[in-house]
Every structure is written in structure tokens, then in C-alpha cells.
């Protein structure tokens, strides 16, 4: 600690980053300039400062030149800030006596004029040197870790994340909003490109998740509240009543037979009916009935109770109430999946108006053995087999008008799969796929697509502008351009399948609000780094798996789930973690307890409390993220954020202003 009272001795290292910086910023000129700045003892250029050699030079200088401050001007601190902090630490220098300047993303990458970019790099470094002279050493505190995890979402991503964690020996809470786990994958009939039966490969894993000694499955529930921070999250889950005693239900089905209320079955996309007492699907986990409280006669109007009167096992309990379950975990994996684009928005295709226009997920239910037609693909208008079927790609994807420029990645292959299955069922049917570009970049994908072509599936490159219906036959007329041949094609089809894109799941706002997660422009959750940290979020201890991060197929989802579980386990297998010391601190002498900081803090990390000296704000150190909102807004300047103190920031501002021409006095 003694070092801070000494005269600052600063070493500055300016990086070429190959040609990333070097091609625009004249690094040598910058180094020559930096040498003239006060307190700078040594300034060097380096091709790759982050390389072993680059780091060794810094460490050598720390010992030989007796440096007590280090400034590296290179890339974003999000890239290598931690690298250089470790470099300093290993050489015996407190890592918070290091300052980083971004002259790549914020300078060389965005500028083309060499002179001006060089000037800007010099300005930025001068600011950092000014700040560095005032840096204080900080110590990291330790905090215990709750060795349990929460996985939100029980689709394929959540199931695999939970199983991976549980198999390591970590207690895992798997929370699913629907009555059964399984997600969208449970609704699929087969998977591409192997044509595995989707539930055959998923349901054993669902059962594992249901039975695992380390997994506590909480279904028909949603996250009510999350507080805390990495290593110590406190979770409140609201569990809806099922009105069934799970242990006693023998799924005999008597209740369903007796129930007088029929409703559209969500699992079957409304193509089939279910009763008000039901089981979502045969392989559901947990495998017992539940009562839909919004539609049950007894629960809405009183009376009835036919199910209870007839249940041979006394499994029905109308006195059940919602339950709040609370527990603590050290890490959270968000795996809430996606929702399918609402095809009724695309009015020109007439979904919901023309009976023979269906979505790709409707098709999955139609082709599924336990679906509404027992696996026979029939035209919804008259339940007869279709002769001419069309698939339209990119419905709600790659469509600026619908607010989605992105490709949903799975629809091309899903359509090839569905067309292939149709070909098997109807060898003589004419099958057309209207596509924008066929995208099949995956193992075995292109081969599967080629096989589809060989089977006589006709691929037409052109997105139809609209579908018209012949009101007499319910047949669908598509006029489209074939951009390969330049011909205008008119086709009368008797079934059209819309390959709907993937959208962020419903209700994601609530969750991202609770966890302070960032969203990408498309609305999916933003990963910490697009290449190197795809399963992490920017919030420590919160990880990502599956389509909630971006549309992806099942193999990619399972792979990312493994990544998220590994990242979480890396944290949870430690007994304690180090907390970042860049935090706010309140000076109780100055604080008047106005509460503005408490109101503004996004993390619930500062609260006003009654003390002997009256109301005073107090920082909850472990929750504080060091964002600085409190310090910036405090009317009494009573809050300091360490590593970003007022003096340090003002010194930076001073440094910035030095390159301006002197201020002219203005006389009126």
C-alpha cells in the first residue's frame, strides 16, 4: 500500500495490435509524445502487448524501473483488461494501479485519417496518465458461494443444462412455466437431418431430469423475484396449483372422460381438444394431471366436481393454492427458448383466415402419431389428403417489414425435413418449396437437402408476395417469380405450410428486468462476447443456453447448454469468490439521507437506513456493480466510486482539455 504515497512512476505501453492499430495510428510518434508527459518513466511500443513477451516487458519494467503505475493503450478493457491486471499482480503491483486506454475500437477502427487518429490516441493516453497518477490500490473481498444452481426454462436447453450440473453433483432447481418440461422439442415429430423421433430421444432425458437426486423440478411456475448477486442469488418462485395430488394420481384417465369442458389443446396448436382436467401429453414430466383453473366449471362457477367424485385414487384436491418457493443459488442459467413468429401478422398469407394455410409447428402436430390426425397429414378444410403442397420460407424472418432482418437458422432444414416426410407419406404428391436462399450449413445438412431434391421436391427461388384462396375449393393460389429462371409461376396448391421464424420468448422483459440483462436489437439476450463468451451474460453468475440467446438447432442448443453448465460449475465448485472492489462508498458525514441514490440504483445495492446520526445511505457491497449512477446523482457529492473517484475523473477531463486552444475571454 505504501506505494501510493510515493511519487507516481508510470510505465506506458502502446500496442500496434498488428495492423489493427498500427495501420492508422502512428504508434512511434505516440510513444515519443508520451515520454514527454509528467510522471512517465518509461514508454514503449509493442506489436502485441497481450503476448507473453509483451507482458514480460511490463513485468520487467515494474521491477527494474520501479514502476508503481501501468498504462496500456491497446484494445477495449473488455478484451484484455483482466489480462493486464494479472500481469501487474504477478509482478507485485496492485492490479488497480493499472489503467487501460482503448485506442483500437474507439480510435483506429473507427478513423481513417492517420494524423487525427494519432492525435486522438495521444489525447486519450494523456487522459489516462493523468488519472493513473491518482490511482489507489484496492483489495478484493471474498464472498461465499451458494453451491446450487437455478435453470430457468425446461425445454431441451434447460433439461440438458440441469442434467450436466446435477451430474457434477450440484443441486439444481429447474423451473418451467408450463405444466410439463420438454419445450418446443417435445412438440416436434422428427428431427433433422437424421429423422430421429424427437420425443424418443428427448423423453428419456426428461425422465432423468424428473428423477435426478440433484434436480428439484418446479413446473407450472414462474420466477417471481430474484435478488442478490453472483454466488448468492435469492430466488422466489410462484408455483400455480395443479389441484392434483401428484403421488396419488395414477393417470387412469377417468377424470378426463368425465370432465364436461372441452378446450383447444395448446400442445397440439389448437388442432385438437383437451379437457379442463388434462395431461399436456403422454410423456409429460411430471406425469400427472392438472386442472385448468380458468376453464374448470368448479373453479370458475362452483358445482360440477365430476372428476373428484369419480377419481378412484382421491387424487383431486380443490383446496390447493398457489405456493411461493424460496431458495438460494450461486448461479443462474437462462434457457427460456423462443416463441414462433405469429403468422397472423403476415396478413398477405392468410394464416387464420384460409383453413389450408398452416404453420411449420402446426405441421409437426399433424404429422405426429399422437397429434390430432394420428400422423396423417390432412387438409384442415375437409380432412382429405393434400395433392399439391407448398412451403413458404422466411415467414417473419429476413423481413424488414416484420422487424426481423435476421435469419432464424432452423427453418430451411425444418422444411426439408417436413417435405421429406411428406414425400414418404404421399409418394405422388407435388411438393414445392418457395425459398429466399437455402441455408444448410451443418453436419449432414447439405446431403439431406440434396436427397430432398433427388426425391422430386421442387425448390423455387422466390418469396411469394401473397396467397389468394379459391373460396369454392379452399385451394390456395400462389403467383411467384422464380428468380432462377426469371419466369412468373402460378401454382394452385391445396396445403401451404408457413416456415415461421423464431422470436424472443414471451415475457422475457420481466426476466431481463429482474436480472439486469442486456438485449440484442432483435430482442434476444445478449451474450458477454459474441465469439469467446457465447454462454455467458454481462451479469456475473448468469449464463445462457439455447434459443433465448439466438435461434439455433438442437445440436447447437445442447452444445451451448454444456458450455453454460461448465461455466456455472466453474463458479459453483468454489467455496468462495472474489468480489470486484470497484464499488460505491458513502461518506456518512456528507450524506443527508435524501434517498435519490436508492431510487436510482438498478441493482438494489444502496439503501437509506436509520442510524444514530439520522438517515444515511449504505452500500450493500456485494450487490454493488460500481456503475456510478449514485455517485453522479448525489446532490451532496457524498458517494465515491473507487477506481472512478471524482479526483481521478476530473484529472482525466483536465487531460482532455489540454489539447484545446486556450479559452478566449468573451467580453459583452
Amino acid at each position: 500500500m505504501g506505494k501510493t504515497s510515493e511519487e507516481p512512476r508510470i510505465g506506458v505501453y502502446v500496442c500496434h495490435c498488428g495492423l489493427n492499430i498500427g495501420a492508422v495510428v502512428k504508434v512511434k510518434d505516440v510513444v515519443d509524445y508520451v515520454k514527454t508527459l509528467p510522471h512517465v518513466v518509461v514508454a514503449r511500443e509493442s506489436t502485441y502487448t497481450c503476448s507473453d513477451n509483451g507482458q514480460r516487458v511490463i513485468q520487467d519494467d515494474i521491477s527494474t524501473e520501479n514502476l508503481n503505475r501501468v498504462v496500456v493503450a491497446s484494445c477495449s478493457p473488455r478484451m484484455h483488461g483482466e489480462t493486464f491486471m494479472k500481469t501487474c499482480e504477478q509482478a507485485g503491483l496492485n492490479p488497480y494501479l493499472f489503467e487501460m486506454v482503448n485506442i483500437r475500437e474507439q480510435c483506429s477502427w473507427v478513423h481513417t485519417q492517420k494524423e487525427k487518429a494519432t492525435q486522438k490516441a495521444q489525447d486519450l493516453i494523456r487522459m489516462a496518465v493523468k488519472k493513473a497518477a491518482l490511482l489507489e490500490p484496492l483489495e478484493r473481498q471474498k464472498s461465499p458461494v451458494q453451491q446450487a444452481a437455478l435453470v430457468i426454462g425446461g425445454g431441451v436447453a434447460g433439461i440438458f443444462s440441469a442434467l450436466y450440473l446435477a451430474n457434477i453433483g450440484i443441486k439444481t432447481y429447474l423451473v418451467e412455466k408450463n405444466p410439463s418440461i420438454g419445450g418446443h422439442m417435445a412438440q416436434l415429430d422428427k428431427t433433422f437431418p437424421t429423422l430421429d423421433c424427437s420425443l424418443c430421444i428427448l423423453s428419456p432425458r426428461m425422465a432423468d431430469a424428473g428423477n435426478h437426486e440433484n434436480i428439484e423440478l418446479i413446473t407450472y411456475a414462474h420466477i417471481e423475484d430474484i435478488s442478490g448477486y453472483v454466488g448468492n442469488f435469492h430466488i422466489t418462485v410462484k408455483k400455480e396449483p395443479r389441484y392434483i395430488i401428484g403421488d396419488q394420481c395414477r393417470i387412469c384417465g377417468v377424470c378426463t372422460e368425465k370432465c364436461p369442458i372441452s378446450l383447444p389443446d395448446e400442445f397440439n396448436m389448437g388442432l385438437k381438444e383437451r379437457k379442463a382436467i388434462y395431461i399436456p401429453f403422454a410423456q409429460a414430466v411430471p406425469n400427472y394431471y392438472l386442472i385448468d383453473p380458468d376453464n374448470c366449471l368448479h373453479l370458475t362457477k362452483g358445482g360440477c366436481m365430476l372428476c373428484q367424485k369419480n377419481c378412484p385414487n382421491d387424487a383431486i384436491d380443490f383446496d390447493q393454492h398457489e405456493e411461493y418457493v424460496e431458495f438460494d443459488v450461486g448461479a443462474i442459467i437462462v434457457a427460456t427458448g423462443f416463441q414462433l413468429y405469429d403468422a397472423t401478422q403476415k396478413k398477405e398469407y392468410g394464416y387464420g383466415v384460409y383453413p389450408n394455410v398452416i404453420t411449420s409447428l402446426d405441421f409437426e402436430r399433424l404429422v405426429s402419431a399422437d397429434g390430432p390426425t394420428h400422423g396423417k397429414v390432412l387438409k384442415p378444410s375437409d380432412d382429405t389428403p393434400p395433392q399439391k403442397i407448398g412451403f413458404i420460407q422466411c415467414v417473419g424472418s429476413r423481413d424488414e417489414k416484420e422487424g426481423a432482418v435476421y435469419c432464424s437458422r432452423i427453418c430451411c432444414m425444418a422444411t426439408v425435413k417436413q417435405a421429406t416426410m411428406l414425400r414418404e407419406k404421399y409418394p405422388d404428391a407435388e411438393i414445392y418449396v418457395y425459398y429466399t436462399d437455402m441455408r444448410t450449413p451443418g453436419k449432414g445438412f447439405e446431403e439431406f437437402y440434396q436427397r430432398g431434391r433427388e426425391q422430386g421436391i421442387v425448390f423455387i427461388r422466390g418469396k411469394p408476395g401473397e396467397i389468394a384462396e379459391n373460396p369454392d375449393t379452399n385451394n390456395l393460389i400462389i403467383i411467384s417469380e422464380d428468380t432462377d429462371s426469371g419466369l412468373l409461376l402460378k401454382n394452385e396448391l391445396d396445403l401451404v405450410v408457413l416456415a415461421c421464424g423464431l422470436r424472443p420468448p414471451e415475457g422475457l422483459d420481466d426476466l431481463t428486468g429482474l436480472l439486469h440483462l442486456s438485449r440484442s436489437p432483435e430482442g434476444f439476450i445478449m451474450e458477454a462476447h459474441p465469439k469467446l463468451r457465447p454462454a455467458e451474460t454481462s451479469i456475473p453468475g448468469v449464463f445462457l443456453a439455447g434459443c433465448v440467446q439466438f435461434p439455433k438447432d438442437i445440436p447447437d442448443t445442447v452444445a451451448q447448454s454444456g458450455g453454460a453448465a461448465a461455466m456455472a460449475a466453474q463458479l459453483l465448485t468454489k467455496s468462495e469468490i472474489e468480489l470486484e472492489p470497484v464499488r460505491a462508498e458513502v461518506d456518512p458525514e456528507l450524506c443527508v439521507g435524501c434517498g435519490l441514490c436508492e431510487f436510482l440504483c438498478d441493482y438494489g445495492a444502496i439503501e437509506v437506513q436509520e442510524t444514530e446520526d439520522g438517515l444515511k445511505a449504505q452500500v450493500i457491497e456485494v450487490a454493488c456493480q460500481g456503475c456510478g449512477v449514485c455517485a453522479a446523482s448525489c446532490p451532496k457529492q457524498a458517494i465515491t466510486v473507487h477506481h472512478f473517484t471524482q479526483n481521478q475523473l476530473l484529472a482525466q477531463v483536465e487531460g482532455a482539455l489540454e489539447s484545446l486552444p486556450p479559452i478566449q475571454e468573451v467580453t459583452p
Partner: protein, 286 residues
Amino acid sequence: MKYALFLGCTVPVRTMGYELSTRAVMKKLGIELVDLKEFGCCGFPLESIDHDTYLSVATRNLAIAEEHGLPIMTMCSACNGSLLKAHMAMNDEKIKSHINDTLTPLKRHYNGSIEVKHAARVLYENIETIKEMATPLPLKIAAHYGCHYTKPSEIYEGFEDPEVPYSLDDVIRAVGAEPVQYENKKQCCGGAILGIDESVSLEMTREKLQHVKKTGADAMTLVCPFCDIMYDVNQRRIESHFDEKFGIPVLFLPQLVGLALGIPSDELGLRLNRVPVRSLLKTLGD
């Protein structure tokens, strides 16, 4: 309500029945129409050739309406789109100042304050009055919207749904008639390519007439002189070209509304319609 009536080039020369009926119906509804002699071409024919010149020609009309402090009512859908697009383009201050520069020698200047509405939209906005005044017409009517009346949707800012248009169907209902639905309702009349490839153009018109015929509609109704040329003026030509009989009367929307409002058929210019409307008038007991 008071509008400057923008006639355009085609309406007063080729579809006078449209002009007559519009004037008669608007009068009956208490909507005053003012003729501004200085109005010129709407600019539409120039739009795809020289955008700046188009904008200048179109904006000149907007400037004239602004001088008189009157919103514009158009009858032709192309005029409507052309003037409205120019008005929207003036939201860009740079374009506006450039176009105003070109208008300076003509001593015109447009500030950007003028509303442009299609006559059919005005009828739709007065649908409650029409309902009150109408004697129900026991007819089945097929609405043809055409292209420029609903598209591009951004210039209509929420009026009409380009994929599921409704305003003409609603007006048909308002006069007590039944709007019939048919297969290619949103299809173009074919008029746009009449000068380029007559056979394709006539084939497009024929297709729609076939679908309308199938519904057993008593008549079609439409809101654009170009569409009318295809369905009404060219109907007999199509019949002889394809050796196929249609005989579908084609009414401009104000003609249909006018009949329900009890305006004499002479004042609605019904005699000028090419496909005879006598049988239709008989159904109505005229």
C-alpha cells in the same frame, strides 16, 4: 368541409361519369368542392423518369392549394399517390428547399401544410352520414381497390390495410349492398402495362373479370380512372379478344353511393358507362 378538387388529366377527358358523380355526391353530403384553374399535371408520369422534375411538378400543385388554404381531393388513385408522396418527401428539409428553389421562377413556394385525400377516402370518412341518408341497394357488389389507393402503405399512415383492404367494402355495406369476396381481389387492373404488352394486360383484366363473374356480383365498383378503362372501357374488347362473355357493369364508387342517395342517374353520368347499367337500374326499380 371544403376541398380543392384535383381533376388530373384522365378523369375529365375519359371518365366524365366519375367527375359528375363525385361532384353530385359531395354536394349531397354537404362537402364543398372548389376548382382551382392553376392546377396542372400531378407529376405521376414523370416519377420513374426524373424524380426531381416529378417532385417539382407535383409540389407545384401542393403550393397552389396551400395559397388557397384548401386540402386537396383527388379522384384518380395515381394523382393521389403522386401528390401525397411529394408531400411526404417535403418532410426532408434538404429536398424541400431544393424543390422550392426550382419552383421560385414560377413564383410558387410550398411550406408543407396540405392534406391530400382520395374521394373514396372522403366517402369512407363520411360513412355514418351515408348510412343515414341511404336507401339500401339490394345489390351484390365486388370492390376493386387497385394499387395506388392503398400502396405504398407508409404514405397513407394507417389509413387502409394494404393486405386486407376494407374501406370500399365498408362503403358498399353502408349503402345497403353486399360486398362479395373473390379470389384475386388485390390484383392490379393491368392498366399499368397496357402500353407495354397489351396481351398480358388484357389477360390480367380478364382474370379478375372471371373471378368476379363467378361470384354472381351485380356490378364491380372502383375508384380510379385507369382501372375503369380496363374493366369498363375495355371490357367489350376483352370479350371479343378472348371470345368470352362477361357483361359486368362497372360503377365508380360515387356512382354507387349516388344511387343510394337518390341522385338521378343522369346526374351520376351513368349513361357514359360503357357496359350498360340498364339491367342494374331495373333491379333498383328505376
